[in-house]
């Protein structure tokens, strides 16, 4: 069964047609990179998948769990799908380890001791174990984003969504975050990642999805997509990235 299914998905913001008939099928363990110009609907797409935005038409499912406007169903979806934001969105009033423990204790029914242990293990894995008792404001951007990845992983999701996870970072910190994501990919995590880091896409992605004006314009293997994009808009977009 597919990990994520989107078929005929439409989304409007008022009169604005933000997603137009999006079809996409993602297999378990697959790594997808989504790229496209700003405003093309990448964030909207990814936010519809975990129900942060509701779609108006079509079907979205995580495995066999339909994404629909029902609190219980949405919670089940969100437990299975982790999300990492461009602006980290760590909770500034909690320490790093408390950030990681909150959802497992309150949603995942882990005991505090269990949640703490899990948090420590994952914080070590993203290499900020020594920062666990600090507050988010005391960490650098790269460290914060790694903490946010650990926080999402603490819920043991099957799928991870990333929305431009490195766009808010200084160049010197981009690599440390991408390294973590690459490691995650090689562990077999199903990943859907909006990013313009083409090096990462080449190395990690199974497929690259190019979006423009709310539509999926082109889907292809990274080598094929980067060397010979079929579509004019994709070509123009890649041209801009290189210059």
């Amino acid at each position: 069964m597919s990990a994520i299914t989107l078929s005929g998905v439409h989304k409007w913001y008022g009169d604005y047609h933000a997603l137009r008939n999006v079809d996409l099928d993602i297999a378990p363990g697959e790594r997808i990179v989504i790229c496209g110009p700003s405003g093309s609907g990448k964030s909207t797409l990814i936010r519809c998948i975990n129900g942060l935005e509701s779609h108006d038409q079509g079907r979205i499912a995580i495995g066999d769990e339909e994404v629909r406007e029902d609190a219980r169903a949405l919670q089940r979806v969100r437990i299975r799908v982790g999300m990492v934001f461009q602006s980290f969105n760590l909770f500034p009033h909690l320490t790093i380890v408390e950030n990681c423990m909150l959802a497992p204790v309150r949603v995942g029914e882990a005991s505090p001791a269990e949640a703490r242990e899990r948090a420590h293990a994952l914080l070590d894995r993203v290499r900020i174990g020594d920062q666990k008792d600090k507050y988010p404001g005391q960490l650098s951007g790269g460290q914060q984003q790694r903490a946010a990845i650990a926080r999402a992983l603490c819920m043991r999701p099957e799928i991870m969504l990333f929305d431009e996870p490195t766009s808010a970072l200084d160049a010197e910190m981009v690599k440390e975050v991408l390294d973590i994501m690459t490691a995650l990919a090689s562990d077999g995590m199903t990943m859907l990642c909006v990013t313009h880091e083409m090096g990462f896409a080449r190395e990690v992605a199974d497929r690259v999805v190019f979006m423009d004006a709310g539509q999926i314009v082109e889907i292809g293997e990274p080598t094929a997509f980067f060397s010979a994009p079929k579509h004019d808009r994709a070509r123009a977009f890649l041209g801009q990235l290189i210059h």
Binding site: N50, L52, A71, Q75, R78, I79, G82, M83, F85, S87, N89, L90, F91, P92, H93, L102, A103, R106, V107, G108, Y135, P136, G137, Q138, S140, G142, Q143, A148, R151, A152, M155, E172, M173
Partner: protein, 360 residues
């Protein structure tokens, strides 16, 4: 590439700007020197009079006669303090309001350290309030019944303050959330309530509660006057606090709620555990301000015939055996209010410093 930084640069605190010395503050430039000299002269002119009134000519012991044509009549306060503090509550039963006040003092002191902010403390408060009410009323627990119309002084002030804040604050949080709700009905109801209550003078609400409500009730149904005043005060507290809380909510980025929801937290959990703690920390100073106003507003219940501290003081002053020492009485009452409000403000400042570290 040995010149490329591998570790991130440490984040340093902003440099400390030294405060100018006291001497520099007082006489640093012409304007400060002038202000210093002026204030000193005014103080020198006023202080001897104040000292003569309060100390040299002050009457510390004696009766009403001793106070005639003298300075401050402190003897009056000696005689009337129990009445001002406990109003017309029967004299033989005064231990009951004393114990009630004691309960509140103990609970307040116990609740100060943050590690005591637990569910048990919350239940302690509920139990304490119920115990104080039962003790004051007496009938339910087999003591002489004292109707609320005979309650008075400090216990009334404390009860009204504690209850209007304890009931008003949760209501304020719900109103603030309601005002931001996507459901139009909830939003209109909350906005309507807040704007209506803020737009009405508290005095008129108290009058409505104490005079109009009984007229509207069917025959035989009565609602205690104290309770009606409490409802008016709670409404007012809820409306003002709601706007402060809403301000705090606006300062929390949308991404906080989204991140919480994306982790699977319910809306209520996201609010309670993520958004509200940040919102409230961000508005501790205006919250303190509003709370202090609410504490002092309880004194307005004197217009509907309740015996709070201020009304008890006024009744004490009407005793014909004494020459009505207004200044002394109001000074004492002011001192009690000031102590409560100042202590609260200092505590809030302490909280602001210790929990206010929502660093982004």
């Amino acid at each position: 590439m040995s010149y490329v930084r591998t570790a991130p640069e440490a984040i340093l605190p902003a440099p400390v700007v030294a405060r100018p010395s006291l001497a520099a503050s007082l006489f640093g430039d012409a304007a400060s020197s002038l202000a210093t000299v002026f204030i000193t002269l005014v103080a020198l002119a006023a202080l001897p009079h104040l000292f003569a009134w309060a100390v040299t000519n002050g009457v510390w012991v004696g009766d009403g006669e001793a106070c005639r044509d003298a300075g401050a009549c402190w003897a009056f306060l000696r005689a009337k303090t129990p009445f001002i503090l406990f109003g017309i509550y029967p004299e033989d039963e005064r231990w009951r309001p004393m114990v009630a006040v004691g309960i509140f003092v103990v609970l307040t002191i116990w609740s100060l350290p943050r590690k005591h902010w637990t569910r048990a403390t919350l239940f302690g408060w509920i139990a304490g309030i119920v115990a104080a009410l039962l003790l004051m009323g007496g009938k339910t627990i087999g003591l002489t019944e004292v109707p609320t119309s005979a309650w008075g002084g400090l216990p009334i002030t404390i009860l009204l303050t504690v209850l209007s804040l304890a009931l008003g604050f949760p209501a304020a949080v719900l109103l603030a959330l309601g005002r931001r709700s996507p459901h139009p009905a909830l939003r209109w109801l909350s906005t309507g309530f807040i704007e209506l209550v803020r737009g009405l003078p508290l005095l008129s609400m108290l009058f409505v509660a104490s005079i109009m409500v009984p007229l509207l009730l069917p025959d035989g149904v009565t609602i205690d006057n104290l309770f009606r005043a409490l409802v008016a005060l709670t409404f007012s507290a809820a409306a003002y606090l709601a706007e402060v809380v809403r301000g705090g909510l606006q300062g929390v980025p949308r991404g906080q709620e989204e991140a919480a929801r994306a982790l699977g937290l319910s809306w209520a959990q996201a609010m309670r555990l993520v958004v509200l703690p940040q919102a409230i920390r961000n508005v501790i100073p205006p919250l303190t301000n509003t709370v202090v106003v609410i504490v002092k507003n309880t004194s307005l219940v004197l217009v509907v015939g309740l015996f709070d501290l201020l009304s008890a003081g006024r009744v004490a002053l009407s005793d014909p055996d004494w020459p009505a020492p207004y200044a002394e009485t109001y000074l004492m009452i002011a001192l009690i209010y000031f102590t409560i409000c100042y202590a609260f403000a200092r505590y809030a400042l302490h909280l602001e410093r210790t929990l206010g570290q929502v660093r982004r």
